[in-house]
Symmetry: C2
């Protein structure tokens, strides 16, 4: 097999090569290639430079352009857990699509939520003169801002830091909890349990507030004995099953899809059917799980793609940062067959 | 709330500022900052420049350095599906850790397997003078190499292109299939089904070859009626359950963890228990699923992190590319409770 031809692109076509081929000065080539406004270049010279560029396979040097213009087309994206959930990937995807739309390129760094790796990532981004940084978390939480991040424009994505003055874009947890509960209410359920996470977080607080507000609007008194704390994963949902069955509810809103998956297992072991005996509503719309449970899980989607895209729009000044703090993104319902 | 201070980093500390503060020439600063060999700079001048750099918060300009040295510290990583599975994230994680170790930074682009987005990504990388490109796929497959990629050094990760001359690093599917089957044999099973994917792929071919070779070594005749084709997801595993039960096997090796998850549902609906009535072995060690099924799933891990890291080592010439083509990475067993 071949070995790598290291240094394959060490002799790129230069502006000098173009100038020679087109019979014009290097300055003329520079004006044409960089589309400089105000430069008076004849149509003929312009055409010859462009033809030479195509013939010789000239590629503009993005780094040189960045240096000469003093502003870069990089946006840094710091992610804490790119490898363990698809959530970070969806944020990156949304950020990249929006960045590219405006001619920017993402520099992505995964930190594993390690402060040293984070500092290294931010320094790397600053050395590459990023236009700004998106600092993201795979789950919605309050963060302590790394000091170095104040050296450039920063937008927090799926996290926030009160008092930092940094704009943030987060999912609307309360609206999501309200929407989830409303879906169950709309199907005729009146006695609805909520399995909430034991982990203090904006999701814990916001989804509970949404559950309560939906019940209130429906004229149903909030009953705190129907709120069950659980570890926010399959094992937590499974362990809660006996209490759910004892509570005589006809429907359960689960803190997330993983909890719902564990509850499915528990409900089946009790010989009950979903949704005939108990309706189940999830939260997250987690890939690999939600659509593939039996029956497919009705849920509310976390808007990770949109969080990434909105973060870029805030950073580039396309969206206004002067609204409510932080900017909340809607969590839409996803209807399947568990209600 | 604050609005973004666009242009915050438009006036960075320059070498001129450093020279003034340290009372030396700009050339001296440049020599100290860039650690140029052969330059005779007095210890005192060197110390003053370094102190001034700390005091003024001077940050070396990585882009200028790249231009002046003619080689970049970027490695491009093209990924086809960063948003839909954690697999791409794991490849990125491994590649980044290895790249950073050697002073390189990853430029990541997600293409959604779209040729136009891919061309744009590769052009962007070439314009940024990447040292080379890792071209990766979220699942192991043969690819058609985009033309532009031949303009720089490239390593294929989790994919290959026979005849392209490009080095590739892929999971060892055959060893993985053999290991999975050996785990079932070691637990005393002799009549073992294999639910294989209906999608033609190196995984389909390799895992079957591994299954056959493990049976052969154990002195068990291959019985093709025990190989069941299925869609490679939960629904496929579930749909295969009746045939599995009719076949009177005591163990099943599933093409992937998603198939195993669907088979779990089917086996439960038939009133059977895992592993007492039927043992189940997965493949992938997929996050969010494998460790959280009831019982937790024994499986074989796809080595995505290691694929990314090995790709970087090949690209940087740290690992030799002259071995077998493509380079195969071991898929290790992960023991849980379904056998």
């Amino acid at each position: 097999m071949t070995t790598l031809g290291h240094g394959k692109n060490n002799s790129p076509v230069t502006m000098r090569d173009l100038a020679k081929a087109a019979g014009v000065s290097v300055a003329t080539v520079s004006h044409v290639v960089n589309d400089k406004p105000g430069a008076r270049i004849g149509d003929d010279a312009r055409r010859r430079v462009k033809e030479a560029a195509i013939q010789l396979g000239y590629r503009p040097n993005a780094l040189a352009k960045t240096l000469s213009q003093g502003t870069s087309r990089f946006i840094g994206l710091v992610a804490d857990a790119i490898a363990t959930t698809p959530f970070a990937g969806q944020i990156i995807h949304g950020a990249q699509d929006e960045a590219w739309k405006h001619g920017y390129v993402l520099l992505v760094a995964n930190t594993d939520d390690n402060r040293a790796a984070e500092d290294e990532a931010i320094n790397m981004m600053l050395e590459h003169q990023v236009h700004g940084i998106l600092y993201s978390s795979w789950y919605h939480r309050e963060i302590t801002v790394p000091k170095a991040i104040h050296q450039t424009d920063t937008v927090l994505v799926n996290c926030f830091a009160d008092g930092s003055g940094l704009p943030a874009v987060v999912p609307d947890e309360e609206q999501g909890g309200r929407t989830a509960t409303e879906e169950l209410l709309a199907a005729g359920h009146r006695r609805i349990a909520f399995i909430n996470t034991t982990t203090p977080s904006p999701a814990q607080k916001g989804r509970l507030a949404g559950y309560r507000s939906a019940l209130e609007v429906a004229g149903i008194a909030f009953d705190e004995t129907l709120v069950f704390p659980a570890e926010p994963e399959q094992e937590g949902g499974y362990a809660t099953t006996p209490k759910i069955i004892d509570s005589k509810v006809t429907a359960v809103f689960c803190h997330n899809d993983r909890v719902a998956m564990g509850l499915y297992d528990g409900i089946r072991e009790h010989g009950l059917r979903i949704p005939d005996d108990i309706a189940v509503m999830g939260f997250d719309n987690q890939d690999v799980i939600a659509a593939h449970l039996r029956p497919p899980l009705s849920t509310v989607a976390l808007p990770h793609y949109e969080l990434g895209a909105a973060g870029v729009r805030l950073l580039l000044g396309i969206d206004d940062t002067s609204g409510t703090h932080p900017n909340r993104i809607i969590c839409p319902p996803v209807k399947r067959h568990s209600i």
